[in-house]
């Protein structure tokens, strides 16, 4: 265990936000989960007791008739905001006094940094570069993320869970988001920061970042890996293109079917509320998102680099 290496990575000034992000995120997930759990209990209680549902104020916080339903912003909100501002100021000041912003050698185009890392918040994308060509990881994927985020309100037709934490009423959307945010975004950043060392090689925490490390890693493409009984490795470029298109297309078709099946059985109401466009958009984005870990595992476990090879692009 190379504690010094670990400490060096964790204490690098620009990595401190990421180190801070982990407990922060854990804390807020816990905070949300606690409230969602309470709300879900309340919902269960109310659904079991329609009479109570009619009279209950429907929040988990205490309420008594006669208490103000609305409170003045001044002072009740503003005092919290000011307090927040003070605390943020304190944190920022202490942070700034104790830790200096990094400043390295003057820019030198002739001296490549190893590893050359993007700003930490883009490390997820940089990590994707391992699995995808730059045009996907660097351009298509960010665009898809932005578009995906933007269409969320339009494809989430579930009217429940607006304005309160809940799990029971929004299992699908919350689990999807958690997967996308925590696993695909934050975890990738953490991998990019703490795991990826010189040469963008995989170093377990506590392993020394040895610049001279050599690892054997030969990647193949899926068309080459087609078993003999399925027609052997595909050699012609044309056939490779067709093969890849079939695999990718097949994934979306079969996946689409699976999503449909899931919705029809488990989320019938939501499915009913959705238009065809909404559903297919949702299914496409969801499948694309799920495709990321699939592709990653292909690469990490079976060393498959490309699935679809064409003269113009590779996926």
């Amino acid at each position: 265990m190379d504690w010094r290496q670990l400490w060096e990575i964790c204490s690098a000034p620009d990595n401190v936000p990421i180190v801070a992000l982990i407990p922060l995120l854990a804390f807020y997930i816990y905070l949300a989960w606690r409230q969602a759990h309470a709300n879900d209990q309340l919902i269960g209680q109310l659904e079991a007791d329609p009479a109570l549902a009619k009279t209950h104020h429907r929040k988990t916080w205490p309420f008594k008739p006669g208490w103000q339903k609305e409170v003045h912003v001044w002072p009740f909100l503003l005092r919290i905001e000011f307090l927040g501002a003070i605390i943020v100021t304190i944190i920022l000041m202490i942070w700034s006094i104790t830790l200096n912003a990094p400043l390295e050698e003057p820019a030198n185009p002739n001296l490549t940094m190893n590893p050359a890392k993007a700003p930490w918040y883009f490390l997820g994308l940089q990590e994707m570069l391992v699995y995808f060509d730059p045009w996907i990881a660097g351009v298509v994927m960010p665009t898809m993320i932005i578009i995906g985020l933007m269409v969320i309100p339009y494809i989430d037709t579930n009217p429940l869970g607006s304005g309160y934490y809940t799990w029971k009423q929004r299992r699908f959307s919350i689990s999807t988001f958690l997967f996308g945010f925590v696993i695909l975004w934050v975890a990738m950043i953490i991998i990019g920061t703490f795991i990826r060392g010189p040469g963008w090689q995989w170093f377990w925490p506590g392993q020394t970042w040895d610049h001279n490390r050599l690892i054997y890693e030969v990647n193949r493409d899926l068309p080459d890996e087609v078993p003999r009984w399925l027609g052997g490795p595909i050699t012609s470029n044309w056939a490779k293109g067709v093969f890849g298109a079939i695999v990718v297309g097949g994934y979306y078709l079969i996946g689409g079917g699976a999503v449909y099946s899931l919705f029809r059985r488990r989320m019938a109401k939501d499915f009913q509320r959705m238009s065809l466009l909404q559903f297919s958009l949702m299914a496409f984005l969801w499948l694309t998102m799920v495709a990321l870990p699939l592709k990653m595992s292909l690469r990490l476990l079976w060393h498959i680099k490309y699935v679809w090879i064409t003269p113009w692009f590779n996926i």
Partner: protein
């Protein structure tokens, strides 16, 4: 004195004029003896209640007695606090629900603007000067180091705060009708926050920023259609000297032009756009019915009933 001057200046009507002036002066002195004490007394009386003064009332348009009216006016008549309604949902002040991340983001934005403007006094976006200026800030400028540190760390904090804000908004379903559009604004603001941070990364012109930006912008080479290494890029006549990356950097490598572009986007372009979007964002928060919750929980059977208006929340 005055008399003497008169006497010297004009020699005619000596006696008559002199008499007139003498009596006039005597009269004035008599009056002065009574008037000044009276005025002084009045002034002192006035000072006893400063809130009555013209200066005070011109600034503060209302009284500060702790009455509901004044509490509301305190918010409404203040241009800054005006962002808020006079009254809000009683539970909306709960930190466990809101996490306060939107406010913190905004506060950090203000800090960043403030420190950023101060940093601009010392910074020249040129290859020769940039790095030296940062050294100058670090070693020479009074409070320069803490200024730069605060700017850097506040930027990192802001990224985290934005993420957590989005996370919270998603978990409470606050993007749902009628807030779909504001969610979109928020997504754009998220993108701009990241871009702001990213463009600032290059400005010290050190190895860290240089290579981070190089890695970041290298992805743009692979933009489909628009990058010279992207799918169909070369078919469309893209070269390193006319593709989208060239446009971003103002050159084929990260150099003086890139520094200048970065600087202008960082200091002028993106902040203006982001500010405009922020104004819209805040405006829409209020227009879409204040913050979304904490709303009373909805039961599954109520899902397809017409939604209650936001005003009815809290029942």
């Amino acid at each position: 004195m005055a008399d003497e001057n008169n006497a010297n200046g004009k020699n005619g009507n000596k006696t008559g004029l002199l008499d007139k002036v003498t009596t006039g002066v005597k009269d004035d002195i008599q009056a002065l003896k009574t008037d000044i004490p009276a005025k002084a007394k009045e002034q002192i009386e006035g000072l006893k209640d400063p809130t009555k003064t013209q200066v005070y009332t011109s600034i503060f348009r209302h009284k500060h007695d702790d009455t509901p009216r004044n509490r509301a006016l305190g918010v409404l008549s203040n241009v800054f606090l005006h962002l808020h309604p006079a009254k809000i949902n009683r539970d909306a002040v709960r930190y466990s629900y809101t996490w306060g991340m939107g406010g913190i983001t905004f506060y950090l934005f203000i800090i960043l603007t403030y420190t950023g403007v101060l940093l601009m006094f010392y910074y020249h976006p040129s290859k020769v000067q940039a790095f030296r200026d940062v050294l100058y800030l670090e070693h020479d400028v009074p409070f320069g180091k803490i200024l730069r540190n605060m700017h850097r760390w506040a930027a990192h904090l802001m990224v985290i705060a934005v993420w957590l804000h989005m996370f919270r908004v998603f978990l409470t379903g606050s993007y749902k009708k009628p807030r779909e559009f504001n969610w979109n604004i928020g997504v754009l603001l998220l993108v701009f926050t990241l871009l702001l941070s990213f463009t600032g990364y290059l400005l010290p012109d050190d190895q860290l920023g240089f290579w981070a930006v190089t890695v970041g912008t290298n992805m743009a080479r692979a933009t489909p259609l628009l990058g010279h290494e992207g799918p169909f890029g070369s078919q469309l006549g893209m070269t390193p000297y006319n593709d989208v990356r060239f446009g971003l950097l103002g050159g084929s490598i990260v150099d003086a032009n890139a520094l200048l572009r970065s600087y202008i986007w960082h200091c002028i372009g993106i902040p203006i756009v982001a500010s405009v979007l922020m104004i819209v964002h805040f405006w829409r928060v209020r227009k879409d019915g204040g913050i979304s919750g904490p709303a009373p929980v909805m039961l599954t059977e109520e899902a397809d009933k017409p939604r209650r208006g936001p005003k009815a929340a809290g029942e």
